[in-house]
Each structure stands twice: as structure tokens, then as C-alpha cells.
Symmetry: C2
Subunit: 545 residues, 2 copies
Amino acid sequence: MKIALAQLNYHIGNFEANTQKIIAEALKAQSLGAELVVFAELAICGYPPRDFLEFDDFIDRCQHAVADIASQCENIAVIVGTPIRNLAEKGKPLFNSAAFIANGEVQFFKKALLPNYDVFDEYRYFEPSREFEILHFNGKKIALTICEDLWNIGNDPLYTINPMDELMKQQPDFMINIAASPFDYRQAKARTEVLQQNVGKYKIPLIYVNHVGAQTELLFDGGSMAISSENKIQLKLPFFREDMQLVETDSLLNESGVVLTKPESTEIELIHDALVMGIKNYFEKLGFNKAILGLSGGIDSAVTMVLAAKALGAENVVGLLMPSQYSSDHSVDDALQLAINLGSPYKTIPIKELYDSFEVQLETEFKDLPFGLAEENIQARIRGVLLMALSNKFGYIVLNTSNKSEAAVGYGTLYGDMNGGLSVLGDVYKTRVFELARYINKDGEVIPQNTITKPPSAELRPNQKDSDSLPDYDILDQILFQYIECRKGPKELIAMGFEEKIVNRVLKLVNTNEYKRHQTPPILRVTPKAFGMGRRMPIVARYLS
Amino acid sequence: MKIALAQLNYHIGNFEANTQKIIAEALKAQSLGAELVVFAELAICGYPPRDFLEFDDFIDRCQHAVADIASQCENIAVIVGTPIRNLAEKGKPLFNSAAFIANGEVQFFKKALLPNYDVFDEYRYFEPSREFEILHFNGKKIALTICEDLWNIGNDPLYTINPMDELMKQQPDFMINIAASPFDYRQAKARTEVLQQNVGKYKIPLIYVNHVGAQTELLFDGGSMAISSENKIQLKLPFFREDMQLVETDSLLNESGVVLTKPESTEIELIHDALVMGIKNYFEKLGFNKAILGLSGGIDSAVTMVLAAKALGAENVVGLLMPSQYSSDHSVDDALQLAINLGSPYKTIPIKELYDSFEVQLETEFKDLPFGLAEENIQARIRGVLLMALSNKFGYIVLNTSNKSEAAVGYGTLYGDMNGGLSVLGDVYKTRVFELARYINKDGEVIPQNTITKPPSAELRPNQKDSDSLPDYDILDQILFQYIECRKGPKELIAMGFEEKIVNRVLKLVNTNEYKRHQTPPILRVTPKAFGMGRRMPIVARYLS
């Protein structure tokens, strides 16, 4: 049987566009000889639809979309993810389902394991299914599951049941899994391992179809695949772009099939490509095409600008230089040089006069109190006002340039440099930002070398360095990684060899700056634990703080 | 048996303070003759602890706190909520439990129904228990449950099981339920109904102990109670403050017991008291005592200032007047009069010169483009910078003064008037803000009458009125209520008689302004559906937009 794996980019809530795309792709698959075409989890409405699922109107539109597809796809069967209503008297109001559409009839297969951790909230909306039925199609028996249904395998099982164990009782010929499995730099590898653990356990082939494309902070990398019963990856769709490919199921039973052994990308390549896709889709799906950002001559704004230029075209990314009396000459030179290297437009608005105006207006209040944090922040906030003024006037979206290390310890000004529609590097530690810069420069200097080699500085007071206020980034980032990604506590960190005083200081900074992160732009998620929807912390608390 | 109901205010993660408070209250209950003292759900760590629960260190500290209580409370039994580890091989890593501590021994009773909707994320952390055991103490059999365990009653059950149905098989003498049930203006009534439905069904008395106090956006109103087997409320603890009271269980079996029939507060009284508590606890728990806010002469800042003055003392709330060339004389007068009426300090910093400086600096970019949104927003953002400058310099927390109607339709300036550490009125529709103002003035004019009677205006351009941009608040607020609180879609709204054009416009405004709300301060929650943690929407989407 020829099956098409359709790895597409959906727009949440845009039923017209999603339905048209699904029908067009199904008809294309049919013309290529496919008997069945498989789309991703909740493809009908986009993933994650979040609380839109609580609107009857939204669910009605999903139903209509499925009916449209059923009426348009007469000569090819379709598997597509959609929410459906739970008609039972008890339980949550919806199921997360895979609609199987053939000959105008629709049959639903429901998700049993509902992820409800990190960025996932599925138990908020869906009742877990406890029905396990095989899909019969063209003489084959298919074990059709949805994403997490295959993930309760290996050590540390989160759930008390395993859907495939149940389905195997009906002796399926192969598995199909439709997914919405978001990217992080370890996930492509983890995902392949989980899929191969399933094939290893159940000894039948597996066809896996994932989302691709960005949904605000969530980046879906695709990587759909077909695995033979001998546990060889015979077909693998690309990362970070739409694609459709066909597989012949008989070949998946055949040990002699072609084995793809393309080398995996490095972590830094994956992060780079994911961020570029994240920017691109954010703008496209909102209907914007121009970005602006504050260009300081530092590495964060440089890397952000290069990624934006790759996503939107260099001509669509405006660098705004806003030097103060504390800006060093090399900062302005480095910023200019980057814009020139990219061929991007740039503008300069110095902030000294604006700062002086604030000083005058605040004189009666501030009197002769010494220069301090308030004055530093005024400079950052003036820059924020200028960026937003150009954004409002000319329809640019402001890109935030904060990195994860700064966001973690609150080394940034709320309503100043923490502004923006989207945070590009908010899930990339400072040490990784340097790696990205070197990766960007691998075939020649785009980011000025001086930007990479000079010591990081906010330049908000004379001769300021980040290292005046923070531990060295090498140490800081390791502690942050252990605390944020690995949830290690102070005792464990100290046992690892980090200095107690630094550990306590860093953890306190992270926890007491939750209020700042609460008000920042959505952050493109590239690690297993990003700030934002996947990390939910009390703002008012006293723990390690 | 004499049982003490201890309704306390906890500090999330502050194990030392919480444990001391619990032990002190237990010893006090013992001295009053209680054999058992009951504290609320997750009292050990505060509610909601959110992702702190994912740290082993945090769970260790909960264990130590329980051990401390066990060692200190020798002559009184204690029921107190705490997370405990799930030692089974499968399932989520924790249970939400009630520890029963007596004679140095600890026994755990685990929550079966885990709320995972609106502001609740319990299935993110906890495995639902399927063990149902009675607590035996001093010759009595007690059905001990945790909050949601009693809520699967009446129509539309969310869960497929009912813990009390299981526990009744063991013929308990009475029920104890420990809760963390947050306030909204309908919840006190709904909660009493649910508790009485349980007593009505199971015909045994119920002792109910709730949290009190604010945890950032979540406001716990207390209202702990004891209900007799005849379904009469014999004991009710106050709303919005800590208290401890004793009940004799035998009296709860006695029809002749005293029946309390205190009149319930009105909705507006409840909202008023909840907001005052919300402000007060936010500052106390963060260790701050002074607030600042922009005082415009309008009703939102006036009501916010009065509530803050009640919470913090009038002398601790600074009103900052920041008139522009578009501010009317009456605005300044009204703002001044309010500060004088309250006896609060006020300061004036005009923004015209700052605005002119921005105009000069932006001249080369803006050229002779007409005055528009960009220019309006610059004014609002200058005010934001000034408020934050004083906040940074003097340690004030900025109170946000936006109301729910504005927040819903995006009628506010990001990084301008949407700034603040806490949003006081962000869950109060404009029409309700007027009700609050009248309630505040019920015994004499605090808020100047002119502030209440003049048409609302942002005063960012000449003769601006809110009604230039928005439908009348009477209509707008009704549509917003139906869409946000009741999740009605466009068809349902039009069927209710709202004009199609207005409905579509309002829904589009709500959905396309999600990006703004994503970056706003936490909002004190007083309705069943507030913006913030309880309403999770995609930012990039195209649904009704």
C-alpha cells in the first residue's frame, strides 16, 4: 500500500487555509498514486489551539472542516488530526482524535495518553481515551495512535497504561502515529529513539507524521519518517520545511530496503535553523514583513539581526543605533559594520538629549541622589520608546534581543531592552550565543570579529562590564542549565562543585526576577525548558530567594 | 470531638514561616481543647506552588516541614496538606495529599480528582489517587478528601469517578475537606452549594477548611465552614482574613444546633474586599510597602488609588500627575482632589517638554507624517518611564490601572499605561469600575463626583473620548462577558441580539490583542475567567480575527 506522509505548516484557527492546504495535498498525493495520505495531530485547527478549544464555535468549525475534506477526497483515504466532542455524560468535553476519512465516511481514533507537562496542557481539554481499536483499510490492519501514545516506553513511565500493548492484541500490520512534537535541540534524537524503541518492541513498521513550522514560541521541526520492521529508517522528511513523500508499506517489511543514514545536524545548526524558521513564521502568520531592533554593537543584537535577515530578507530588517554618552566608539562602528555586511538599512538616533530632558524633569524628585539603577534604566527605556515609536509609525515588529542568561537573572530593563514582539534568543544562553555567532561567521565575517571578542557590556554607565554584576558566563550558564533545565537544587549544585555563594546568589536572582519574565515577549523555544508557557513559577514566593 | 478549623494565609515556598505558623496555631487549638486541628490543602508549601513542585529540593523541604510539625504537636492531631512522592513505578511523580499527624506518626490521604482547567494545573504534577481509605481517629471514622474531590457532583461531571461514593462504603461519621479554592465573585455561593449538595447526598456532617490570602493573582477568600448532617451551616469563618474556630462534632449531628444565616455580601462588596486583600498581600509577601501610580483624574486610577490606600495606608500610596497639553483642567483638578481627599502624597511632572524632545529626535524619521497612534503612544510611554524612574529610585511598586474592558480590546499602550507590578482592575470591566467607585463613595465623596460622571477619555489627542474608538461600555462589556466568561461564539452573540458588525469587531479586537496581554502584569482575579494564567490563548493565530 502506498501511503503519503504530508508534513505541513498550519495556521492556528485558520480553518479555511488549513482545509484548503490539506485537500490540495491529498489530491496531489492521490495523483502520485497514494491510497492513503497522513496529516499531523490536530492539523485541522493547528497546534496548540489552547483555550480556543473551549469555544463550541471552534469545535463546530473543526467538524465542518472534516466534512469538507470528506466531500473533496473521494479517491484517497485521509488520516488527519482534529478535536471531537466527548458525547459521554462524564469526563472532559473533548477527545484529541485522528479522523480516518474514506469514501465519504469518517471514523475517529482517540488519543489515550495526554501530555500535561512543560508546554503541554492536553488534560486541560481532553478526556483520555480507553478504547483501543484497530483501523482496517484495504486489507491491512493499522495501529493508529497520536503522538504521546507511543511515548510511555523506556524508564520512568508517566502513565499507567500503554496503548500499543492493547492494540497489539489485534495483530496490526503496521503502526501510524500522527504527532505535534515540538523542537528542542535534543528532541530530534530523543524522538527517533522513542520511535525505534516502539518498533523494537512491537516488531512492525511505523509511519510517523509530525508538524512543521512555528506557532509563536513553539517550533515544529518536522522530521517525519517511516521505519521498517527491521528498525531501519527508510524514509525521512526534512527538518524545518514542508514536504510530502510516499512510502510503499511492503518495502517496510523488507529487510533489504534502502537504509538512510544521513548524518544528523549538529545542535548549533539545528538551533540556528529553528530560530530562522521561528522568526519567519511569526511574521508570515501575523501578516507582517519588516522588523526593527536596537543595534548596540554587542553580540546579542548582532546574532538576532543576522537571523532576522535570513528569515525576512536583509532589506526588511532595520537596525536602530541609539548611542548614549556611555557608548564606546567601537560599539557604534561594530553596529554599523554589521548592517553594512548584511546590506540592511540602519538608522541612528542618539539618546543623550532625551536622557538630559528626563534628568531635568526628574530633578525636583531625584535632587542630588547619586547616579544608579534608575538612571541606567531610563536610558534603556528611552531606547524602548524610540523602537516602539518607529514600530507604531511604520509597521515594523520590534525584535527583542535578550539572551537566556540575562532573562534568567533579570539583567535587563523591563519596558526597555526587554521589549519586543518576539524574543529570538531568550532560550539561548550567552555562551551559546557566541557559538551561534561563530557558526554564522563560518564562511566569512558577517558579524564583526570585535563584536565576538570584546567583553560583554550593557554600556549604561562608564566602563560597565557584565562581569561587574554577574559571575562569568561560563560558570553562570552551567549553573542556570542545571537549575532551569535539570531542576537541580542548591545542595545538588554545590555537590557538583559550584561555589555555594555563587549558587545561592544565582538561584535567588532567577527566582526574584520571575516578575520581569512574566512581562516579556514570547520566546522561541529551542531547549527542553524555556521561559514562558513551559515554565510556570509563582511570582510572589520565597523559595531560594 | 472538638475540631479546630484553621484558616490561614501562607507564603509560597516559605517553609520556615509556614511551619512556624502551623505549629503555633496547632498549639493554640490544643490549648482551647481541640483534639484535632485542620489546615488547608498544600498549606505546607502554599498554593499554588506551580513548577517549584518539580524540584526534589522543594519536596524534601515539604517532608521536613511535616516531620517538624509531627515532632512539635504531641497532644493534638493535625491534618495538613502537602505534596508527597509517588513511589510507584508508573505515573506522575507526586500526589497531592492530606497528612494526618498524630502521636508522631504520619498517614497520607491522597487527592483523587485533580482540577486542570482555568487557573488549575494539578495534573501537571500529580497522579490521581485511586485508593479510598477512611481515617480512624478517637473512635470516629472520617472521610478525608481534598478540595476538588467533592466537586464531581451535580450536572456535567468532569470526572468518571466520585471519591465520596467510594468512601461511603466504609460508613464514615463525617467528612473533612481541605481546600485551596480561589475567590471569584460567584465562587462563595457556588462553593456553599457544592458542599451542601454533598451533605444532602451523603447525610453526614462536613468540615471544610479553605486557604485565605492572596498569592499573586489568585485571591483566596476563606469562608471555611462546618455543616450539620441536617445541611445547616453551623459555623462559618470570615472572608478575607485569618481565623481559627472550634466545632464540636456531636453538635453537627444535632438538628437543634444553631443555624447561621448571616446575609451574604453583595458582589461588589466581595470584589472590593478581595482587591484590597490582593494588593495588601502582594506588597507584604514581596516585602514592599509603598506604591505609586499615574493619577489621571479618570475613574480607573481613582479607584485603584483608593483600593491601594485601604490596603497599604493612604500615606504609602503616591499619586503621580503627568499632565500633557491634551490634559483637560478638570483632569488635573480631579486627580489633585482625590489625593487630598485620601490624604495621600502626590507629585506632578508634566510631560510636554519630554514629548517635545522625542518629537525633535524623531523628526528626521517621522518627517511631516500626520499625528497618530505613534504620537499618542509616546505620551503614554513617557509616563511609563517616569513612573518606573521613581519606582527604581525610591522602591515604590507601580500599580497598573487598566481595567478589563481596555485589556480585552487592547485599548492601552504596551510599555506605557499597561506597565506595573500588579494590575488591580484588570479583571474588572469598566461598568463594574463605576460600580466600585459608587460603592467607595457610599458614605461620602472620596472619589470626586466629576471623575465618575465625565465621559471616559485617554486624553492623548485633542477632545479624545473612549467612545470615538470603542462601542459604548454598556454594550462592549456585555459582549466581552459573553465571549470571555461564557465562551459564546459570534453566532450565539448575534442570536442574543448584539449587532453583527459590533460583535465581529469586538471579537477581532480581543483576539488580535493577545500579544499585548501576554506582556502585562499579573491581574488580581475576581471573575471566573480572568486574563492571565487561567486564560491561555495562542498569540499567533487567525480565529475570529
